[in-house]
C-alpha cells in the first residue's frame, strides 16, 4: 500500500464545483481517497494552484503519420534534443518529438491523459506500440472511419445498424476509443486524387454524401452508447469561406445524449474562415461561436495557431496536398486501403503573413466568444497549429487582454480589419482554464466516470500542482508569470506517484490505454458476417485473423464495455 497526502493545495476541480479552495488531497494505491494514515508520504503544495491532471482531448503523438513526420524531418529532430539522464531517456524533436519527448514534456506541463486524434485501424498496432513508449500519460485513440468501405456501403443501403456493427467490430479489433471522421468522404475520394468540397458532394463510386456519413455515423455512435461522441474534422479544412460548410455540418446534429455532446468538432479554427479567396480571407469566428452557444450538443476545440515552425499532419490527404501546392516544401501522403489516408507537410506560421495572423486571431476568438468553456477546449491540434509546448502562452493570451493587445501589435497590420479580436474584452479566469484543459476534456471524452478529470474519492490520482498563487498573481497584468507557471509543474502526480518535479521526470511510468468494446447481438457480429468476411478476404491485403491488435500491445488495458441497442 502506498499513500500520499498533498497538503495545503489551492484546488480548482470544476467537475466537483471546487474553485480555489485550500484543502488536502489524500491518495492511496493510485486513487483519490477520503483520508490516509499518518504514515503517508507528504507533499506540501504551499497554497499552489492544484488541479486534476491535464487532459488533451485532441493531439497527434503516436502512430503511422506522426512517426512519418519524424522520419522525414531530421531538421525537426535536431531542434530539440536532450540526453539520457536519471529516469529520462534521450529525446529528439521540436514539433514532432519522439515518444519519450512527448511524454516528458506533457508531464512537465501537468498533462496525464492524451487522446491521439487519428488512428487508421489497419495500422492501429503501430499507434499502440508508440503508446507503450509514452509512459507518463494514459492514452486512447480516435479511430478513423471516414472512408471505411463497409460503412460507406451500409450508409448507401440506409442501414445505420450495420454502420454501428462495423464500428463495434472495428473498435474492439483495433482497441480504439472514439469514432473519428476526418473530411468524411474526402479521404476516399482522395484515393482517386479527388476531394469533396462540402457536405453535399457525393463520394465517387459510393454515391453517399458527407452529410449522410456524418448523420449516420452520429446515430450509430449513440446506438453503441460509446463514452465519447463522434469526433469530426469537418470537410473543406483550411479554405476561405469554409465556415458555411462548418455551420452546415453542425446543423446536421440532433441532441441525442444527456450526459455529453453529440458532436465533438475538432480544430475549428481551421474551419472558421470567411472570404471568397485568400485576398479577402477573414475571420468567421462569430457566426461559429454564436451557433455553438445555441447548441449544447456541440463541443469544439480551438486548434489554435501559434507563430513559428511546426509540422502539419492529418488524415486529410487532399488538404495536405493543397497546402503543399501553396508552400512547396516537402510533402508526404499515405493512403490506407479501404479506410482512410493521411498527409504531412512542414509549415512556418509567420506574423508577417496576413493569413497566418488571421488564423492566430480566430482560434483565440473562438475560445473567447464561446460562452461556456465546457464547449470550447484548449488545443492546437498538436502539432498542426503549434506544438503543445505553446499551451501556456495560449492560456496567458486567453487570460489577458493586455497580452493579446501586445501580441496583436506585432502581427500583420491589416489583420485588424479582418478579425473581431481587438474588440473582445473578455479575460478567462483560472476556473475557465481548468475546464478547458482538463474537466471539459474529461466530460467531452466521457471518461469522468472512469475517474478522469476530477479529484473525487475513487478517481485516478492524477494531479498537477503549478507554482502559481492565484490569490497573488494578476493574470491580466502578469501574463509572463502565468506562462512560466503553466510551463512547468511543481509536482505532477500520476496514478498516485510523483512523476515529474520542476521540469524533471522522476520515474519510468507505465501508461494505461482506454478502449471500447461494444457488445452487439450475435446477428450484428461482423466477425461472423459472411458478406463482411468475404469482402475483407478479397480486398484487404492483411488476413482478417491477423488484423486485430493483440492484448500484448497494451501495457495496462482499460476496456470499457458498452451495451449496444441493435
Amino acid at each position: 500500500m502506498t499513500e500520499l497526502l498533498v497538503k495545503n493545495a489551492c484546488v480548482i476541480d470544476p467537475l466537483r464545483g471546487i474553485n480555489g479552495e485550500v484543502m488536502d488531497i489524500a491518495i492511496r494505491n493510485g486513487k483519490i481517497v477520503e483520508e490516509v494514515s499518518d504514515a503517508a508520504e507528504v507533499v506540501d503544495a504551499r497554497g499552489m494552484l492544484t488541479m486534476p491532471g491535464g487532459i488533451d482531448s485532441h493531439t497527434h503523438i503516436c502512430g503511422t503519420k506522426v512517426n512519418f513526420g519524424r522520419y522525414m524531418s531530421p531538421e525537426d529532430m535536431r531542434a530539440g534534443r536532450t540526453p539520457r539522464q536519471g529516469a529520462m531517456h534521450a529525446t529528439s524533436g521540436y514539433s514532432v518529438p519522439t515518444t519519450y519527448g512527448n511524454s516528458y514534456r506533457y508531464s512537465v506541463m501537468g498533462y496525464t491523459t492524451l487522446l491521439e486524434g487519428a488512428m487508421a485501424p489497419l495500422e492501429a498496432r503501430h499507434t499502440h506500440e508508440e503508446f507503450s513508449y509514452t509512459p507518463l500519460q494514459d492514452t486512447m485513440a480516435n479511430t478513423l472511419f471516414d472512408g471505411n468501405w463497409g460503412i460507406l456501403e451500409a450508409i448507401r443501403d440506409g442501414d445505420t445498424k450495420r454502420v454501428a456493427a462495423i464500428i463495434a467490430w472495428t473498435l474492439s479489433a483495433v482497441k480504439g476509443f472514439g469514432v473519428k471522421l476526418t473530411n468524411p468522404g474526402g479521404t476516399e475520394a482522395w484515393q482517386w486524387g479527388k476531394n469533396v468540397t462540402c457536405i453535399r458532394d457525393p463520394v465517387p463510386y459510393f454515391e453517399v454524401t458527407p452529410a449522410e456519413i456524418i448523420r449516420s455515423v452520429v446515430e450509430a455512435n449513440e446506438l453503441l452508447h460509446l463514452p465519447h461522441s463522434v469526433h469530426l474534422h469537418c470537410n473543406n479544412l483550411g479554405t476561405p469561406g469554409n465556415y458555411t460548410c462548418t455551420l452546415g455540418s453542425f446543423g446536421l446534429i440532433p441532441d441525442l445524449n444527456k450526459k455529453r455532446q453529440t458532436l465533438y468538432a475538432t480544430h475549428v479554427q481551421f474551419h472558421a474562415y470567411g472570404g471568397s479567396g485568400w485576398k479577402d480571407f477573414c475571420s468567421k469566428s462569430e457566426p461559429i461561436a454564436n451557433y455553438v452557444n445555441m447548441r449544447p450538443q456541440i463541443v469544439i476545440d480551438m486548434g489554435q495557431v501559434m507563430f513559428g515552425r511546426t509540422t502539419t499532419m492529418t488524415a486529410d490527404g487532399p488538404m495536405e496536398f493543397n497546402l503543399y501546392r501553396l508552400h512547396h516544401d516537402k510533402w508526404s501522403n499515405h493512403d490506407v486501403e479501404l479506410e482512410t489516408g493521411s498527409g504531412i507537410i512542414p509549415v512556418i506560421y509567420r506574423r508577417k503573413n496576413l493569413v497566418n495572423s488571421i488564423m492566430w486571431a480566430i482560434g483565440l476568438e473562438l475560445a473567447l466568444l464561446t460562452k461556456s468553456p465546457w464547449q470550447c477546449l484548449l488545443t492546437t491540434d498538436n502539432p498542426n497549429g503549434a506544438p503543445f509546448v505553446k499551451y501556456p502562452e495560449i492560456i496567458a493570451l486567453l487570460m489577458s487582454k493586455r497580452y493579446r493587445d501586445a501580441e496583436f501589435a506585432t502581427v500583420h497590420p491589416d489583420t485588424e480589419s479582418r478579425v473581431p479580436l481587438p474588440a473582445i474584452e473578455r479575460e478567462l479566469d483560472w476556473h475557465e482554464i481548468a475546464v478547458m484543459t482538463r474537466a471539459g476534456g474529461a466530460r467531452a471524452l466521457g471518461i469522468q466516470d472512469l475517474g478522469k478529470g476530477h479529484l473525487a474519492p475513487g478517481a485516478d490520482a492524477d494531479v498537477a500542482i503549478y507554482p502559481l498563487r492565484i490569490d497573488e498573481v494578476d493574470p491580466a497584468a502578469e501574463y509572463q508569470k502565468v506562462i512560466d507557471g503553466f510551463s512547468q509543474t511543481e509536482y505532477t502526480i500520476k496514478r498516485g506517484r510523483v512523476v515529474a518535479r520542476r521540469g524533471e521526470c522522476l520515474v519510468h511510468g507505465s501508461n494505461a490505454t482506454f478502449w471500447v468494446r461494444p457488445k452487439v447481438p450475435e446477428n450484428y457480429d461482423m466477425g461472423k458476417d459472411p458478406d463482411f468476411i468475404e469482402k475483407f478476404d478479397r480486398y484487404y491485403t492483411v488476413r482478417m485473423r491477423n488484423y486485430p491488435v493483440q492484448d500484448e500491445y497494451l501495457t495496462r488495458s482499460r476496456c470499457i464495455e458498452t451495451e449496444a441497442d441493435l
Binding site: C62, T64, N67, F68, R70, Y71, M72, S73, P74, M77, R81, T82, P83, R84, Q85, H89, A90, T91, S92, G93, P97, T98, T99, G101, L122, E123, R125, H126, E129, E130, Y133, W190, Q191, W192, G193, Y205, Y324, R325, K330, W331, S332, N333, H334, D335, V336, E337, L338, G341, I344, I345, R538, Y539, Y540, T541, V542, R543, R545, N546, Q550, E552
Partner: protein, 427 residues
C-alpha cells in the same frame, strides 16, 4: 497440425496468408509461400547452443555465459556498434535502442547499405505513398523501376499488382498495365506490357526527361535519353497522365546506382508532379521482412531511421559519418553486436578487416558469413517460426508474426533484455 495465416519472415512483402503444416514439432509442408519463404520455413540446420571462439576452435558455452560476455564486451567498449536489426522483431529492436543509449553506442540497421539513400531523398522531398492494398484495388498502371520482384519479392506481383484482383478493376490482368524500367531485360520485364531499357547510369536523365514531358516541355527532349527514345518517353508519360491510379515501386537498381539518392529525389518529384494530373504513389521495395520496422522503431525512440550515434548522450544522426560501414572503415569501432543480419556477406573488405580485429558478438539462429568474425555467437529463436513479435511490411503496415513451432530457443528480445539488465546493473 496446420497453422493458418502464418506470417512469412523473409521479404518486405510480409505475406500473412501462409499455411504451415507441423508434425512432431517439425515443419513438413508450407502452402502459399514463395520459394524463398518456403526455404525459410523449412529451416536450415540451426546452431544448438552459444559458442565461444577458443583459439582456432569453437567452445560450447551456456546462454548465461554468452550474455555475460556480450554485456561485458559492450560495457568496456569505448565506441560500440549495434548493427543489423532488419531480421528481428520490433520488441528486440526497442531493447537495442535502449542499450545503445545506455552505453553511448552507435545503432545502425541494414538500410544504411540498402535503402539509406531512399530515406535521405524522402527527408528532402517527402514521400507520396500508400498501403499495398490501395494499389491492388485501384492501380491501372504499375511501374517497377530498378526492381525485379520475380527474383526478390516473388509474391508482390500476385498479391498486389500484375496477377492480383482489384475492387475497381473489372478484369485486373487486362486493365492493369505494368511497365518495367531497368538496365537489362529481367524476368519481370518479360511479363510487363512495356519495357524501358536504360543505359547504366541513365536513370536520373530519364526521370528528368519524364518530368519535363509531364510539365509539357516535350520540345526540350533530345531524340534519345540514356538509350531511351523520345517517342517511348512521350508514350510512357502519357500513360502515366492518363492512368486513374499509378504506382511506382523502385528497388536498389535505382537507389544504389549512379546518382543514388538524387535518383530517388527525382523520382519522387516526378510523382509529386504527376499528382497534379492524376493520382500517383511511389514506394521502395524493402528487402528484409522487418527492415522497415527497424526504421520505425528507431524513429519513434530516437527521431532518426538509422545511423544513430549516442556518443554525446543525445541522439545524433549523420549518415556517412554515423553509419556502420563508416565507423568500421575509420576503425573507430572497438566492439560490435550484430543482430538479425549478416554484414560479412555485404560489407566492403576494409570494414571486414576491422571487424576481424575487434570483439564481435552475433545473435543469429544459423551459422553465416559473419560467424567467422565472431567471438561469440548466440543462437536465437526465429521470428515468425518459433518466436512471435511485430514486423512492419514495406508499406508500413504492422503485423504480428505467429509462432508455428515451440522450441527452447530464447527470442532476440529475451536475450537482449537479459543483456540490457546486466548492463543496467553495472552502470
Amino acid at each position: 497440425m496446420i497453422v493458418k495465416d502464418a506470417v512469412c519472415p523473409f521479404c518486405g512483402c510480409l505475406c500473412d496468408d501462409i499455411e504451415v503444416e507441423v508434425e512432431g514439432n517439425r515443419v513438413v509442408a508450407v502452402t502459399n509461400a514463395c520459394e524463398l519463404g518456403m526455404t525459410k520455413f523449412m529451416g536450415e540446420k540451426r546452431m544448438k547452443n552459444p559458442i565461444l571462439r577458443d583459439g582456432n576452435r569453437w567452445k560450447d558455452i551456456t546462454y548465461d555465459e554468452a550474455i555475460r560476455y556480450a554485456a561485458d564486451m559492450l560495457l568496456s567498449a569505448e565506441r560500440p556498434l549495434l548493427y543489423g536489426w532488419s531480421g528481428t522483431h520490433g520488441e528486440a529492436q526497442c531493447v537495442g535502442v535502449h542499450m545503445a543509449e545506455l552505453i553511448h553506442g552507435v545503432i545502425d540497421n541494414t538500410s544504411s547499405v540498402c535503402h539509406g539513400p531512399s530515406i535521405l531523398a524522402i527527408q528532402e522531398v517527402g514521400h507520396p505513398g500508400c498501403t499495398l492494398g490501395v494499389v491492388k484495388n485501384r492501380a491501372d498502371l504499375v511501374i517497377y523501376w530498378g526492381s525485379n520482384p520475380i527474383d526478390a519479392h516473388p509474391r508482390h506481383l500476385s498479391r498486389y499488382t500484375r496477377y492480383a484482383e482489384g475492387f475497381f478493376l473489372e478484369n485486373a490482368f487486362r486493365d492493369r498495365k505494368v511497365i518495367v524500367v531497368d538496365v537489362r531485360k529481367t524476368e519481370t520485364a518479360n511479363i510487363a506490357d512495356e519495357f524501358i531499357q536504360i543505359k547504366p547510369g541513365g536513370d536520373y536523365a530519364v526521370l528528368s526527361a519524364l518530368r519535363a514531358i509531364v510539365q509539357g516541355k516535350v520540345d526540350t527532349i533530345p531524340r534519345t535519353v540514356a538509350g531511351v527514345t523520345r517517342a517511348q518517353l512521350v508514350r510512357v508519360a502519357n500513360l502515366c497522365k492518363s492512368a486513374k491510379f499509378g504506382a511506382v515501386y523502385f528497388g536498389l537498381g535505382l537507389t544504389m546506382t549512379q546518382g543514388k539518392y538524387k535518383n530517388i529525389r527525382n523520382a519522387i518529384e516526378l510523382i509529386s508532379e504527376l499528382n497534379r494530373h492524376t493520382k500517383f504513389t511511389i514506394s521502395a521495395m524493402r528487402g528484409h521482412y522487418n527492415v522497415y520496422g527497424s526504421n520505425e522503431v528507431n524513429t519513434w525512440m530516437t527521431g532518426y531511421p538509422f545511423g544513430i550515434d549516442f556518443s554525446r548522450g543525445i541522439a545524433f544522426y549523420n549518415p556517412g559519418e554515423t553509419t556502420a560501414v563508416d565507423i568500421l572503415a575509420r576503425k573507430e569501432c572497438d566492439a560490435a553486436l550484430i543482430v538479425g543480419s549478416d554484414p560479412a556477406a555485404h560489407f566492403p573488405r576494409r570494414c571486414l578487416e576491422h571487424l576481424a580485429d575487434i570483439p564481435v558478438v552475433q545473435l543469429d539462429p544459423y551459422p553465416n558469413a559473419t560467424t567467422a568474425f565472431c567471438n561469440v555467437q548466440i543462437p536465437v529463436a526465429v521470428t515468425g517460426i518459433d518466436a512471435e513479435g511485430t514486423a512492419y511490411r514495406m508499406d508500413g503496415v504492422p503485423i504480428r508474426t505467429r509462432r508455428v513451432l515451440s522450441t527452447d530457443y530464447l527470442s532476440d528480445e529475451e536475450v537482449l533484455s537479459r543483456m540490457y539488465a546486466l548492463m543496467q546493473e553495472a552502470s
